[in-house]
């Protein structure tokens, strides 16, 4: 895939985003506010995800490991 069409595609996506969220109609300072808010939310969500998802995954992994492997010994304690 060549770089130019990729760039055009990204620009097009951005346009669609602007049209759907109506930021197309906003004044520059409103846009700034809107994007700041959106980006902050996005960053916060991804940071939260980054912090918690690995922990959850490893817990789940442990759980299934216990469930399949060492069932008699630890199943009860994991459920608790």
């Amino acid at each position: 895939m060549d770089f130019k069409s990729m760039k055009y595609y990204l620009y097009w996506l951005y346009c669609q985003f602007e049209l759907i969220t109506c930021s197309y109609l906003m004044e520059p300072w409103e846009k700034l506010l809107f994007y700041t808010f959106n980006i902050t939310m996005l960053v916060m969500i991804s940071y939260t995800a980054y912090l918690f998802i690995p922990v959850h995954i490893s817990t789940a992994f442990q759980f299934f490991l216990h469930l399949l492997g060492n069932q008699h010994e630890n199943a009860v304690s994991v459920v608790k």
């Binding site: 602007e18 049209l19 759907i20 969220t21 109506c22 930021s23 109609l25």
Partner: protein, 555 residues
Amino acid sequence: MERPGRAALGAQPRANGCGAAHGALRNGFVRGLPGTQINHVVHNGGLYKRPFNEAFEETPMLVAVLTYVGYGVLTLFGYLRDFMRQWKIEKCQNAIEREEQKDFVPLYQDFENFYTRNLYMRIRDSWNRPICSVPGAKVDMMERVSHDYNWTFTYTGKVIKGIINMGSYNYLGFAQNNGTCQQAAAKVLSQYGAGVCSSRQEMGNLDKHEELEKLVARFLGVESAMAYGMGFATNSMNIPALVGKGCLILSDELNHASLVLGARLSGATIRIFKHNNMQSLEKLLKDAIVHGQPRTRRPWKKILILVEGIYSMEGSIVRLPEVIALKKKYKSYLYLDEAHSIGALGPNGRGVVDYFGLNPEDVDVMMGTFTKSFGAAGGYIGGKKELIDYLRTYSHSAVYATSLSPPVVEQIITSMKCIMGEDGTTFGKECVQQLAENTRYFRRRLKEMGFIIYGNEDSPVVPLMLYMPAKIGAFGREMLKRNIGVVVVGFPATPIIESRARFCLSAAHTKEMLDTALKEINEVGDLLQLKYSRHRLVPLLDRPFDETTYEETED
């Protein structure tokens, strides 16, 4: 829940079924078997002499959700801006109450004002564009810019020339500043002057008016007709003369403001039926006859059905054969507003009655305007001689309004004669055919491109659905950039999520113009992702219909 019951009803042979050939055929509709969902296999049965293809595609769910998201964002920002204006953080440019009015009822707090201030203002540049030439097939527009986000506009002094005009109600192309109509009007202007400042009942009655009324009556195929100086007033002043207290008006939910105003002024009880929905109309008629007036239970004095020929926002054509059948069955009166359909529909350009091949006598009051197809101004009412004689004496717009200006009358006479072929040419007939052809072509092409198009396939009003608020502005601007003038419509003229662009075709549009317009529309459609169509059509009758929505205005 509603439908199976109705289907069962329809399947029983009924004594007074209107035009029922056998049990399953009522109102010319072939019904499904009792107990099954009716899917309108045929919706142009017995009563229709021609195919009646009218469909409204459902709004795709995703589009509806995204539209609400857009409005949500704009509303939030609207509140923010209102807050800032109130605390003087931002200069307040909209209308506010004066200091001494502050303690009274707030004037600018309702939703429509909020909408105008915070949403409409952002896309206002797509409306009210000043033009500086005759609005024919092409039009010149004055360029304007706004430096304060549409609160004020300044003219750059430049003129954008040769914009393809897809927005005028110039159905037959009579909006011209040269040609026979113009010459005739100019001649009459020098002969009669611009007008007699008096009403028809006093000194304003000229021979031209009588000539016009005779011609209109002949054109419509009715006994007698009367012309007025303003289409809007024709509706709003004549309905009160026809019905009053103790009468019932059944009005289509999408009727024009003039009909609504007339109905309200009359003081009659108004009940509203679902747009073009004959079940809904029949139910109201039946209820009206069974129950009579509320409380007293006396029968209604008169029942008047108000419908339009072509609905200018939906592009739909009234189901006239069925309305007439219902009207006859329940012995009510029918008032048909042909503002958009006169000239634009039918093989002879004589409106919906001609389109369906019906008898004009079956319509009690034929109303229409000269504003659209004839390129003039004013309105008419046609019907039985007694009706018109009555209106001549009792209608407010006959008694109080100044009479039509003679050059305008001449424009109407010349263009109407042209449509009737009485000027010795076939030009009028060709225009009517050209319009029908343009309509079919334009609609077909737009459908193929995948846009959601509303309305009847023969209606020259073509609404193209835009839905999202940002796309209203973007569509208007992008089309203007490409030298095409379009009309975009949003709230409050339409439901809030059903914003649309409305094209009005004209016989003056050539194939090249339409092709150029279609090419640009296609391009803009791709750019803005407007091709929503899934080709899942819902015939109008299958649109959700709940019985409890009609309001009663009783005092």
